[in-house]
Symmetry: C3
Subunit: 673 residues, 3 copies
């Protein structure tokens, strides 16, 4: 496997010189401005297919070579992209099979990210293009990695895909009987008696078989990965030492990104948070959650591949990042494990849908803007903290975010329509984050052994082995947190018999006999009296989904306040071996989770990086060669007095220790031994 | 016609043993639990086609026979279902004509309830299947009736259906000239000059001809009934003594259910009210309205064919029925004429979209749940009150809910977009219900003679003969209540010339020169001074639609308070023969209707079952063999003191008389002579 | 060019006798009622194709001749319509190419306004029909003009249209290289290498190329005009002296109506404002804006071709126009340049979707209604003021509303999703209108020389020559008002390089470095201190879009109050030659615009028709033969005391001068020299 280890933090972004080939003065300005802004890394060639192969079989790589040569001459590196994110029009016209189909209707050529992942024709074109690209630039000194395609997404329902899906099913299930069993086809007369009866779930087709839908989503991930393999096969062969990545997308949940670990050397991520819509702290927590999720796919440093230096063009309201926010959000990415700060885009095009997306260089064509100056400051900072590059992050706490469980939960009809999986997970993340600790956001297939606390509060689907591994974790002293509507279904979305939380019943010591649902505005509460199990007490509102529990070995710590299940268990604990399992039976207000994890992390002996964080301040720590780098960031809108660990400021070079006032949007980065 | 007369109340629900054929232990448990819960009637075979005919022409009925044998052995009865609600995949694959079409696009196989009702192929398969089923189980002692298909619904626009539609039109209109006249095709150049130019109203086709749309909706009802006839032909022949039913669906308004009277022996109904979303009383009134509507289709006892013992899975929020509500809502069904309390579903499947729908037996597989206990209590009660089974309901008051009038009103552009037909009707129903009387909800083709009061407050369409029959009703002493935007169009949706309310003008004595519409939040009021015509006075808000009346024989009782029609008639009365006709010119607040019907029923000598009902308490009465059974139900959230009629409690066996306190959710059933 | 000069104001509307040919009594009543109501002008034959050509090639014009003969006999005139707005069913059936296509799917026959504008078959039918109509009625004395089709609208994506689009593109761009450059196809690999690769932007096709979309919209306008030419070719040849018009539609923005100036002799307009939803004044301003827009297409008197005497049938709530409003809104149309007051519709049909649309004669078939009386009063008034017919309107102020700029702005992604172009323009119009002046609403291709003040507050696209013409305007002493997000893109939607406002930078003297966007509820403010440039001061809220300016020659008059751009320019002015250019950098509350234009019009020496207008009163002036006719209208809900100019009341014939009290909904029309 190729190593992704940059010598310094990468700073730059998407660069589309192919839009300006008739303006050599502009290309010259670009280099000059890049150097001024401390930009050292650009992604080039994304969507450049028409420029690289203007007609079938005619390759025009000269312009790209010129760009890369010029980069190298100026000490600038590049991620070289494969151009498969958009096809040239001649290809769609001549080979319509490369287009996507839905309900038997072909999509016309247009837009982007809309090819069939199965099409042999498209794969053949991709193979040829990538082979030629790799051959051409295999040893180019400016190229430091491969950026495969762009933001993979979407589905195709053409007959090629139907066949591939059936083939995948056959390999997974061997017999139709197994399929019928896994998908519980005995309801609604759905039994399949021939493989050819199976089709992907489309708008006008079968949308009621959750097992089929789930397998289709798995297949889409599989087939996308298979397509990535097709893309990378010539690349890996010709340029085995260049690392490859894909850029994943914020809040895009239809591909199981962790599965891509097998085909990339590091993970890329495109982050477009809505700074300025809510409080900065709210946005910071939401963003940090996604950063730690991306990091969790490989549990390695990753690359912030796209972000905006200012505003995007596709939010409903494209508010400008306030001064200082670009710096702070860039630092936040590094704090959570990114080794790059890259932006979409270096320069705004004159036309096209993204002409109003933020860029380092705008339509004014100058370096005189506020945005340019802020980007330049980020460049300077990244250089200053370059010793941190490649540093790892270690966490004592993990939060389980499982794509397949999420899919199955979302497909489930009942007990509420909108499951709010993401929001629920973020509320736990926020409470953990307030404790001043690193957090790994992982799927349920990762190793649990390294953690002291694992929160799995909404684990609807429990895949084979997960319960056993959680049992081992608790037996060995771990603290496990479970929640409502968990342990409901197996990997095929078949409900566990014997009652929820299914295979987690033993650990939780509860049977969730019913899961109630309340309408908006209807509330219950959890009441916790002083007790010996956890250092919290009080009354906390709850609603949304509420499990009605029977205790089967667990101890009741908090009880419902009202309704027909008043007085029954709403918060329970059960000890197993050296550890314990908590069960939070209903969705609570945030204050409950804040108090709960405060007490829990203390009793679980989790060590905070910084204790007593003021409101709005977050902290992380990266480690490398025995050095520990602490990032302290003030996302509140006022000064915050933080008790800093002893060490050397990476910014000022001075020793720091004890209370320090961070201004709003201020930050500090400390190296401590 | 076969008789639907159960020896005792049916208690049970949908049972899908075909999902558990590999688990004989589960099937054994089922029987044991059924007997414990007092369950004596199950619907079996719904959606079981794939299990009954796994490949074309190969019938596998053994498992079903085993189930029925076992039922009989244990004193349990069955409604035997025809499986046409869902097809096996092999049929869709081999005979795509069985699938529905829209805008020339075929729907793929999937989901349920989506076959073409016209397809000769599908009809042939149905005939074969139903013949075999009837032959096989004709004399099975467990089978007490036929459950034909499931929740008929939907439309198909394939060429077979287009041809059938044209044939139906030819039989109705004979000549194209008649069609053109009936549909007023002289606007927008719509004149048809060839039958083949006529097509069903589809998304991409003709949606502006309300006459066409109306006839298409009638045809859909006709064709669905024709399909039912195809289903029942072999059944009626082979098992002439078994009653047949279909299960109609709550708030499903695209089939004119009353027309199905010709093909069923009793009416089935699936009721899924949103208990717990609003106040229980609100839900009770909404539910009772639908119960009396279903009863009104045949004006005979009916069967609650589906309901949930706890929560559904398809509401936005699937709140659990609070303890006692399952009992009370079951009693309410019986109170309004149901002879069964059946539930969807006996047991939750492990997979499929309905795996989280409430059931008597859940994924815990036990009888230890709250839900099981409540179901068991209902079983015990139904046994206790079994003398009431088959009792009739007689009403002095009727409310006209006419499907075709509703369709035409809904298709009408203006005076408001959302006509709120259902809500308007329910508001009248509620006011009548508060008077402690039985209410028949009927269409305009039923006999009017038995009633003292008929409310027809929103009768947009007046079909031939209806005005004449209403005239006879009033002449003979009846009290008729009409309302705004009534008497507007004839059965072809052609507006009556001469002004609204068209043929009802003579009875009403008013000409509605204009119908105003107010935006949300804009209000007028009706002011009624002390008068000799009705015992009410005061100021009542009104809005929505407001007729501006010219009096042509009627007397003004209430006047508008403001706007340019201030002082003109808003409530009028006209006497005809021994009776009188009231006209309520605008939509009012509920308080108006409450006061109005209170005075009106008194002056019309309608006898309440119970007088002076406290808020939140409802009452009905069933009659059989000279006995009268009074149901008193407290849907308020507190104790209610009710003045009970003298009689014997069917619950305690004790004599009751005078004031009794019913707790919240409490009820009493009294037999009085 | 044929002249549109009526001898008196036209009063009447759409008349569909073809719906009543079997009722000669009704047709007789019509004539009688028309004369009573002072109705002298009807549009006939709209949608009458099926009555005019019931089968291919068989023309039946007799009934129409009878109607026109009868008109003439009774002194009534007609606009004769071509019937192309709806086809007969036989044509769609036999020649499906006349139907529209989208995404390769044919629309079925039905509804109206849905033919392919390119189809040679349809054009051939239209040519034949219009030739025959013209021949038949060329010299009919009742016919005073042609009403071509009805409310042109919509698009077709069939292969005929694709070919026509490509042909149009070739004529415009000559080479694909030019196309690629204009559309900036170098992004997302969109370079076209063959003309046949280009297709219209459809739902399933290319929606990301704003240049393509913009050209498609231009093509749709072009092709619709080309279709009008096809319609009018025989007409112009056979009846060269009859003026032709089309009826444009309120708030319909997908055709660039000003371009139709080349094919019509006067402009028709269908106006259906929502009187009674908001305050009458609010509706009056919105309506007046559209009146002045329609007038602006040709800058000539126009024709109110449709309006409702009472209510429409297609608003969500079809509120009745309150008494007096039909009169006042009719006067308003005349006040803003209409020479007709025509209504949809003379008589309600019995069926069809428009049977509940307001009409002079309703389903009661009489002249006894409030509506009839109000229409009759309008007829009497129009006769009284007939000297005013053909009078022109001259304005010192213009507001630029540019369809192509609007389209491009709407297609732009960012800085906000909903651009609210119309609302922004109306807010400027309202502020100008409060000053008691005539206002021309024009596109950017009109002559600027006649004006003292031009407001171009949202001119996203600046077409070639516009900046130069504005410069000349300012140089010569004009006052120009610009606003945020202006001067951004050229006619191909390519952003100007060098920064916004692009070619307007020189005039404005500002560089809009960034355009911020605020979420709903987020606010900034503009603070203006006492200054010498404009007679206004204070604090005004602003939000939505906010330019952050660099002053490059302009003077700051108002500054932002808060945020990181606090203290920077929010209102600036720059003098050029004898004139000056104002730049309003953010969207403000209405009060700002009111104060701003009050001061500006004064300093720009714009002469008000009436000074010191009370709230809710509007005024316009028409001129003819040296006479000036002043219209003063009170749209407030109370008496208003207005300082009238000296002259003679056209209503009472009396001299008026000085303060006069106009009641709510009252008006006065004064002739002054």
């Amino acid at each position: 496997m190729a190593q992704f280890k940059l010598p310094a933090f990468g700073h730059g972004g998407d660069y589309n010189p192919d839009q300006w080939l008739d303006r050599p003065d502009v290309l010259e300005d670009d280099i000059r401005y890049m150097k001024e802004a401390g930009v050292n890394l650009l992604s080039v060639g994304i969507f450049a297919w028409a420029a690289l192969e203007p007609e079938e079989g005619k390759y025009t790589f000269g312009w790209l070579r010129d760009i890369l040569d010029n980069f190298h001459k100026n000490g600038i590196s590049a991620f070289l992209a494969t151009p498969s994110g958009a096809r040239p029009a001649w290809m769609s016209k001549k080979y319509p099979e490369v287009l996507r189909y839905e309900n038997g209707v072909k999509f016309e050529h247009g837009n982007r990210h809309n090819h069939c992942f199965t099409s042999p024709v498209y794969r053949s074109f991709v193979t040829k293009m990538n082979t030629r690209l790799a051959e051409e630039f295999a040893s180019h000194p400016a190229v430091v990695g491969w950026h495969i395609s762009n933001e993979y997404s979407g589905q195709c329902h053409c007959e090629n895909c139907q066949r591939a899906f059936r083939k995948w099913l056959k390999e997974k299930y061997h017999t139709l009987e197994n399929v019928n069993k896994a998908w519980w086809t005995s309801f609604w007369s759905k039994t399949f008696t021939d493989w050819d009866q199976i089709r992907s779930p489309e708008r006008n087709g079968e949308t009621s078989l959750t097992g089929l839908t789930l397998d289709w989503m798995r297949f889409v991930t599989h087939q996308t990965i298979d397509f990535v393999k097709c893309e990378t096969a010539p690349i890996k062969k010709i340029t085995p030492n260049l690392p490859v990545t894909i850029n994943t997308m914020q809040n895009f949940t239809f591909l199981s990104y962790p599965k891509f670990a097998e085909v990339v050397d590091f993970m890329g991520y495109d982050c477009y948070s809505k700074w300025g819509k809510y409080s900065d702290y709210r946005t910071a927590v939401d963003t940090a959650f996604t950063y730690d999720s991306v990091r969790g796919y490989l549990l390695k440093p990753w690359s912030l591949m796209e972000s905006t230096p200012s505003q995007v063009n596709w939010h409903d309201v494209c508010k400008i990042k306030r001064p200082g926010i670009h710096m702070l959000s860039s630092v936040q990415a590094v704090a959570h494990g990114s080794d790059t700060v890259m932006m979409f885009q270096w320069r705004k095009g004159r036309g096209g849908p993204e002409k109003f997306h933020g860029a380092v260089i705008g339509h004014d064509m100058t370096n005189k803007t506020r945005v340019f100056k802020e980007v330049k400051e980020v460049g300077a900072l990244l250089e200053k903290i370059s010793p941190i590059v490649n540093a790892e992050i270690k966490s004592e706490c993990a939060l389980i975010y499982d794509f397949e469980s999420f899919w199955a939960l979302n497909e489930a009809q009942g007990p509420v329509k909108d499951k709010e999986y993401h929001k629920v997970l973020v509320s736990h993340y926020e409470a953990l984050s307030k404790r001043g600790v690193n957090i790994d956001v992982i799927d349920s297939e990762k190793d649990f052994n390294a953690y002291k606390v694992i929160a799995a509060p909404y684990l609807y689907m429990v895949k084979p082995g997960v319960a056993e591994r959680l049992e081992a974790f608790v037996e060995n002293g771990g603290t496990l947190v479970l929640g409502y509507f968990s342990g409901v279904a197996d990997e095929n979305d078949l409900c566990f018999l014997g009652g929820a939380p299914g295979p987690l019943k033993k650990l939780a010591g509860v049977w969730a006999e019913e899961t109630d649902a309340l309408y908006d505005g209807q509330k219950n509460a959890i009441v916790i009296n002083k007790n010996d199990d956890i250092d919290m007490q009080g009354r906390y509102e709850c609603g949304f989904m509420l499990d009605v529990l029977n205790l089967e070995g667990a101890k009741m710590v908090g009880a419902y306040e009202s309704d027909y299940y008043a007085g029954t268990g709403a918060l329970t604990v059960k000890k197993t071996g050296k550890g314990e399992t908590w069960y939070i039976a209903a969705r609570t207000e945030q204050r409950f989770l804040d108090d709960f994890y405060k007490a829990l992390l203390k009793s679980s002996n989790v060590t905070p990086i910084v204790s007593g964080l003021p409101d709005g301040v977050t902290v992380t720590e990266r480690e490398k060669d025995g050095n520990r780098y602490v990032f302290v960031m003030n996302f509140s809108e006022k000064d915050a007095s933080v008790s800093l660990p002893e060490g050397v400021s990476m910014i000022t070079g001075e020793c720091v220790k004890g209370l320090k006032v961070l201004p709003a949007n201020g930050f500090e980065i400390i190296c401590r031994k």
